[in-house]
Symmetry: C2
Subunit: 333 residues, 2 copies
């Protein structure tokens, strides 16, 4: 029989469906394979095709917007939100609106078109995380921004518009709903129990081990108890910390190692799936230090979201997290 | 510049993006064209390939599970939730679960494989709505169910697993999150203003007309102020009513006429898009009569949901509702 399960942070229910059970080979997916593209604006040598860079790593004397970099951060050419202007709030009869103030940046992870987070070496992945941290620290000083989201779309099916591997950063003038629910859920848990809910999850999952995928000195990868999607994977730092950008340097190295490991396991067992990667961190200027705990979510794009999910916010997942964890745990990368 | 807009019911913010503006021809979509399939279990003559029917319309003396019907309702062969058993609630350490009690039924809209809601005549579409009403009335008597959702997935990209046009009905033992947010938002609006928020929307949109798509005696079709998706369309009954199943018969006829009209407009202007159709109605056994207002949402599947949306619950929409309404209003079906 199917099971209804509740996420202990957001209170979101999901259905783990046995009737429609799917194993890794059952998903019809759009695999993402390395390509080449002579006119890619993110490749080394094409720096003039992008907006002017905000920062770069790896230059050995080469000037901005020229080759010689190992990582490059640029403003998005078609930004979702723009930095220029003041934030205006306005009513339109019954309705409320604001103008689109924010920031939208792109971290180009490598000068080479065919690299991915799964094939880059650990140091290069750590550099990506470090660049995100640097940009967060800078954007945080802008008092108009309430939330910064770091995410990655890998493959067209996951929403990527270019093949070249990159991570995006968007600064928002409001705290979005999904984040609000998570932060409020964590606060409620803390207020009743005086404990961080993510620390509780870490304790239970590392003891129970059925949903544990991998662990290293600083990071633990699990299949969450109530995943929306098959093979959804969370990576949590063992040490309690509300904000991603406040972590000590060695935790970025541990996360880089864990990310590469998990993505290679997924590539092997799920046949190079498209995926989304999200870094959940506490909102700027909220005292979430005691009760929030930053983490990474990886969502392979294996299923289609249909009417039931859109209408209810209730996800139907054909693969139990116990089965997903077992499969990913047993892959030999 | 882009705009941030807030839905007055749920409080959900969306970004209407001008930088990434898309017109109807700009979407790369998987058009849904009529097909044939000699082994479709939903076609007339194949009644033995489905579970036993719960009800049928149009029979003229023919027995159950034989040809001769114009509409047929069956339990889903691979149900998301099952009717049999008692609802058990259980903790698993930190986590909460229930067993998968519920109901999952399928309304086969026509005996012919190639029919769709856009090509069926008005009477046949009305029959679909009436069948949904009959099944709702029956399922409502089961006290284990808290919410019933009626939805339709049209085309593989919108999550349909079979081509044959059908509508699904799922009864849930809990009120799902998306519904909770909507109902709570409507209640809050009523408590502050003593007015239904949907009646307020109807008043403003029929006066303003910029987001109005079509209207008839009982129904109004609009592009909502803060749509998550391009060309998202809502159909609202003019008369205040919390529950879909409590409407007078002539409103189903008016809705059938409006549905066919809107879907034909979309087929013409958006090139036979895949879509999801959702009927939002008040939860069973809640006193929502004064503040909730049932309605239909149609979501053409034109864009991919990416990391930003999954992380934030904040939707990025490249087509403003004013532009979508203008396009759909001007189509001559």
């Amino acid at each position: 029989m199917s099971e209804l399960r509740k996420d202990p942070v957001t209170g979101r229910w999901v259905i783990i469906s046995n009737e429609r059970r799917k194993r890794p080979g059952d998903f019809l997916l759009e695999s993402v394979h390395p390509t080449s593209n002579a006119s890619c604006p993110f490749c080394a040598g094409h720096e003039q095709m992008t907006p002017k860079e905000l920062m770069a790593y790896g230059r050995n004397g080469s000037g901005p917007d020229t080759p010689g970099w190992s990582l490059r951060v640029i403003p998005n050419q078609y930004p979702v939100l723009r930095v220029e202007g003041t934030l205006d709030r306005e009513a339109e009869g019954l309705f409320d609106k604001m103008n689109g103030i924010g920031a939208h940046e792109v971290v180009i992870e490598s000068p080479r078109h065919e690299d991915t987070l799964a094939t880059l070496d650990e140091g290069a992945v750590e550099q990506v995380l470090w660049a995100c941290r640097e940009r967060l620290m800078d954007l945080k000083r802008d008092r108009r921004f309430r939330y910064m989201i770091i995410f990655k779309n890998h493959g067209a099916a996951a929403g990527a518009s270019l093949d070249h591997s990159c991570t995006q950063l968007i600064a928002l003038p409001i705290v979005p709903r999904e984040v609000r629910d998570e932060v409020d859920g964590a606060r409620t848990h803390f207020m009743t129990k005086e404990r961080c809910v993510f620390c509780d999850i870490l304790r239970q999952e590392t003891a129970d081990r059925r949903r544990l995928i991998a662990e290293n000195a600083d990071m633990v990868a699990i299949a969450p108890y109530a995943p929306r999607f098959p093979f959804e994977t969370w990576i949590l730092p063992r040490r309690h910390q509300a904000c991603f950008e406040d972590s000590p340097r060695h935790e970025y190295a541990s996360l880089a190692r864990m990310l590469g490991d998990i993505l290679r396991r997924m590539n092997k067992t799920l046949r190079m799936p498209p995926f989304n990667l999200l870094i959940h961190s506490a909102p700027v200027a909220e005292e979430a230090g005691e009760y929030y705990h930053w983490h990474v979510e990886i969502i392979p794009k294996l299923t289609k979201v249909a009417g039931f999910e859109w209408a209810t916010g209730f996800y139907l997942n054909p693969t139990s997290p116990e089965e997903a964890a077992e499969v990913l745990r047993d892959v030999r990368p």
